[in-house]
Amino acid sequence: MSRQHDLAETFAALGDPVRRAIVERLASADATVNELAALFPISVQAVSKHIKVLEAAGVVSKRRQGQTRPVHLEAASLARSADWLERHRRRLEARFQRLDELLDQMKEQP
């Protein structure tokens, strides 16, 4: 079982445009480091570094597949960060719905 990665780590890993583009590309299918590097005007080495950051945060993993080790998106880690934002949204909304009711009452008693 892989260790539970911090939400902060996930967010930090996604805080870079190249890494976000890598994640977007991987959302459609696994890809090798070379395939990913071809998408960016930067060196294979630089892309490889970005992938290591994503890997350390648990956002992607490398799977052995014959001779190659394609990079795979760990969708669950992203789902967790989406879930966090959703919880926050609900908490805020619950609070504001109480405010809506109060504002309604204030209307009735000018």
């Binding site: 911090d6 967010f11 619950a94 719905q97 109060l102 204030m106």
Partner: protein, 161 residues
């Protein structure tokens, strides 16, 4: 009645931004944020009680309250850095259960046509970790209250249709 709302938290940034519209003019919504008796009526999950310890809504004033519910009690305090009626509140916010991690909240009240208004809010945390920990650390008890509220609201809106 649905009010336009957004919440955004960008990866790697230590902020949360939100926007929410209200069926009331900005002066009313502002009052609900600065009048202690009104604040006590809507802050905190439904079913909890808010015990106001201190609330002085003026630039340089401070606030402090305890949210008491079945799941426990949570104390918060902060300072009012700026109160500009009826358009802007800048305040600090700290959960006493996790001292040393205050956040800064900037609320802008925007008048809209038809007696409506909008709050644009920005919360700035000390670090990305603090921002992300905010939900987990605060307590699960409070979230349970919210979950119950969510169910209640869903049931009610279902009944009305």
């Amino acid at each position: 009645m649905t009010n336009r709302r957004t919440v955004t938290a960008s990866p790697g940034e230590q902020t949360i931004a939100f926007s929410r519209e209200f069926e009331a003019p900005a002066t009313r919504v502002f009052e609900a944020h600065t009048d202690a008796a009104l604040v006590a009526q809507w802050i905190g999950p439904r079913g909890t009680e808010l015990r106001m310890r201190e609330f002085e809504a003026r630039t340089g004033g401070s606030w402090s309250y305890v949210v008491a519910g079945k799941g426990g009690e949570w104390a918060f305090h902060g300072s009012f850095h700026e109160i500009t009626s009826p358009s802007r509140i800048v305040q600090t916010f700290e959960f006493e259960g996790e001292p040393g991690h205050p956040s800064l909240e900037v609320l802008t009240f925007v008048e809209l046509p038809g007696g409506r208004s909008r709050i644009d809010g920005l919360s700035v945390f000390l670090s990305v970790e603090d921002r992300d920990a905010m939900l987990g650390g605060m307590d699960s008890g409070m979230d349970e209250d919210f979950d119950r509220l969510e169910e209640l609201l869903t049931e009610n809106s279902g009944a009305r249709v």
